[in-house]
Amino acid sequence: MTSAPAILKRPPVVLWGILLAALWQAVGLWSDLRHSPYLAGGVAALVLWVMPVAVWWGWPGPRPWRRRPGLVLAWAALAALALGATGDLNVLRHAALALALAALWNWRPERLLWLAGAVVWLPAAGWLASRCELSAATVMALRWVAAVTLATAGIWNVFQEKRGGHDN
């Protein structure tokens, strides 16, 4: 038996299947993000948060993919999906969506910050903010600042990876 390479030329197709399942499970997210006052600007924050992954995929050339962290993220997404579906837990469905997206690009340690930055669009974070006595306007301002920062840093990180030849 041949050992598996540490870095693949591209992510396996099954990750798109997991992302589709996560999107299917998180279908109510769009309504939540548009109607809850504490989630105002959440759709734009989600789009900004996804931008680095989109740029990574849109960049011409090879898409090297680290196998081990990618598989761990994919299994974590599946576990979150299973628990989210059986417990009817939106927070896990949303976490599964974040993990499925994270599995789709070449994992690097600094991208853990980007993954944690999913709080900019997670509806559960809006509830936590309300418990901290923050006003909806303050939460929206913080969301914008964090989402723009994450998108900028994430895209810069992709740029460095692609230009610097890391993992290529």
């Binding site: 038996m1 041949t2 050992s3 598996a4 390479p5 693949l8 396996p12 197709v13 099954v14 990750l15 299947g17 997991i18 399942a21 499970q25 109510g28 809850s36 006052p37 504490y38 196998r67 598989l71 994919a74 299994w75 599946l78 999906l81 299973a82 628990l83 579906a85 059986t86 417990g87 009817d88 837990l89 939106n90 509830w127 309300s130 418990r131 006595e133 006003s135 909806a136």
Partner: protein, 196 residues
């Protein structure tokens, strides 16, 4: 293990998750409609009538079973809104989250004994307006005012397909008139709510 074998296991995992999702969706949970209906509409010293939902409530509750009534008892008039989230647990929110989201600011809150359990009395202001709400969650056996505990109860119930207990309902009581409400008198003497 080769990469293609690991991908194959991911496909198997994905298939299992899809199967599990469809299975859980196909198995309906016993609801709490009977529990909602157990609140008497009239008694020896009180009467009630159904109230229509406000448009914002109607939109938020959707298909969730609920009741909204105006009660008159011992000189007090108060509205009771109760929601059963069996069909859609996500409509049962932390009441403070909803009010804060609507621009209300929490001024004070304190727990109030209610029968063998506990409710939360919260006071809010928005500009020159003031509002009070007493809320709790009850499964017919226990009463508490913790959204996190509700979250856990509802989750455990779904994970076990209803074996973990009855569906808790959210009850919110608000004064109907502008006069101050004697909450202590209500929560220690109005038996239908204490035993609901």
């Amino acid at each position: 293990m080769t990469t293609s074998a690991k991908s194959r296991w991911l496909w198997v995992g994905l298939g299992l998750v899809v199967l599990l999702t469809m299975l859980w969706d196909a198995m309906p949970l016993p609801d709490a409609v009977g529990h909602l209906g157990a609140l008497p509409k009239r008694g020896a010293d009180f009467v009630s009538c159904d109230l229509p939902l406000a448009p914002v409530e109607d939109q938020a509750l959707g298909s969730a079973a609920h009741l909204k009534r105006l009660y008159a008892w011992s000189g007090l008039r108060f509205a009771v809104l109760a929601v059963d989230g069996t069909r859609n647990r996500h409509v049962v929110h932390d009441p403070q989250y909803c009010l804060r989201g609507a621009g209300w600011q929490l001024v004070s809150q304190h727990p109030v004994a209610l029968g063998a359990g506990e409710a939360m009395l919260s006071r809010f202001v928005r500009g020159s307006q003031a509002a009070e709400a007493l809320y709790w969650y009850t499964d017919g056996e226990t009463r508490h005012a913790s959204p996190l505990r509700y979250w856990w109860q509802a989750t455990l119930r779904r994970l076990t397909l209803g074996a973990a207990g009855n569906e808790p309902i959210l009850v919110i009581v608000q004064p109907f008139d502008e006069e101050p409400m004697d909450w202590h008198y209500l929560t220690t003497n109005f038996l239908p709510l204490l035993t609901w």
